[in-house]
Symmetry: C2
Subunit: 232 residues, 2 copies
DNA sequence: ATTACTAGCTTCCGAGTAC
DNA sequence: TGTACTCGGAAGCTAGTAA
């Protein structure tokens, strides 16, 4: 797909906007040149290239041609359009966090061990988290920003509860992928009550992430928080 | 807008998909080069260009840089994305017909004169049509295709009726613009009963189109049928 | 490690022009 | 008119390499 020259895509787009997706239209190399801010000669060359790649069809009409954009031509524009569109809207469907794996037992690991939470995790996430969280130190002090950004994202809410000893707060679990690995299920935890500094986040998973992902303390990791748009 | 190099737009899009719209990310010239199928050197040049045009910001981090896309950078991608998107979807919102102005009184002109229709035109289109239609001969025999294409488009229906003499069929009025002139209101007529050959269409307007548009018999005209998507 | 300069090569563009 | 060729110059790319 991406060996299509971009000038070609623009030229096809201009043709489409003249109605060449519907039917053959009258379009001269000069007029197309004007549209794409090139000379008649350059346009002519592009037209020949487009025809050779079957992005357009031409039929001779006297001294000039009538031109129509083929299905492949429309598809080429569609591909680039889609790529750019998803780039622009990327942040609305995911947020990328970069950080470093740190050692130590996080607060989350403590919570994981409590039966009142474990049942909910199994029921609502579909797995029992590995007893221990992956602790990630963010490179910069942007974690407050990140929390704001993912605030409206899809998450699974684990409710708080009380036992004889004390009251436990809720936990929000945001689905994430680690280092773009789509196979390994994982969730980022946001705790109602936390004593962490803001630059630390904790990840749970059914597996021992350091092993399944081959991570060691000090490694850089990329955490992608996904927003499915659904509300649970 | 269009003096932004397309390679730049692609490069920004790739950065956005790595999360650089949110925050500074680690991105080397080699990694960017790989993304855009260029060498490290070419990528370096592009990065410098992007920075000079304020499409990205960079902060030094050791030997490398951390990169973030600016608002202007996002806008540049958005502009191209929008342009391509509307090109792809062009045919869904409009159909362009090219033809030649011909002389003579069309069938439509006869209908225009009937009081049973005139009242409806005024009520439903908001104007009394000029007593006489612009007759346009289509360049090719594609008018059946065109009728199919605009079939689901928005139109105003003028109902048929009967008087002492005979029964008159319905008339569909499709909003059109002539030669991209958005100011002059006009409608293309599709008659239930017609004796025209298929290569002929008739246009009505509150004004005398040949005069208001400066058209003469034999002139080429571009008729754009617009689809607002509304159902009336 | 990286970035980014230079040299040389390739591609692209536009003026002139044949048809 | 139109299209599309050649050709000289401009721009872009990559390999090598300095910092």
């Amino acid at each position: 797909m991406q060996d299509v020259k971009l000038e070609y895509v623009i030229a096809i787009a201009k043709l489409l906007m003249k109605g060449a997706g519907e039917d053959f239209i009258n379009a001269t190399s000069s007029s197309i040149g004007t549209e794409i801010n090139k000379s008649q000669q350059a346009a002519s060359k592009i037209i020949i290239g487009l025809e050779n790649q079957d992005f357009i069809e031409r039929i001779k009409a006297g001294h000039s041609y009538r031109i129509r954009v083929t299905e492949a031509g429309v598809q080429a524009v569609k591909d680039v359009s889609t790529m750019l569109f998803s780039a622009v809207n990327y942040s609305k469907i995911r947020v990328v966090i970069e950080g470093t794996v740190v050692s130590g037992i996080g607060e989350g690991a403590y919570y994981m061990a409590l039966e009142g939470y474990r049942k909910q995790f199994a029921a609502r996430l579909g797995y029992f988290p590995y007893p221990g969280t992956l602790n990630v130190k963010l490179s910069r002090n942007h974690s407050i920003l990140i929390r704001e950004k993912i605030d409206h994202f899809t998450y699974v809410l684990i409710k708080g509860y009380s036992d004889a000893k004390r009251t436990y707060g809720w936990v929000k679990c945001y689905p994430v992928s680690i280092n773009d690995n789509a196979k390994i299920q994982a969730h980022l935890l946001v705790l109602e009550r936390t004593h962490h500094d803001d630059t630390m986040v904790e990840i749970i998973s059914p597996t021992y992430l350091k092993e399944s992902m081959g991570l060691s303390t000090g490694d850089k990791v990329k955490i992608t928080v996904l927003n499915s748009g659904q509300v649970r």
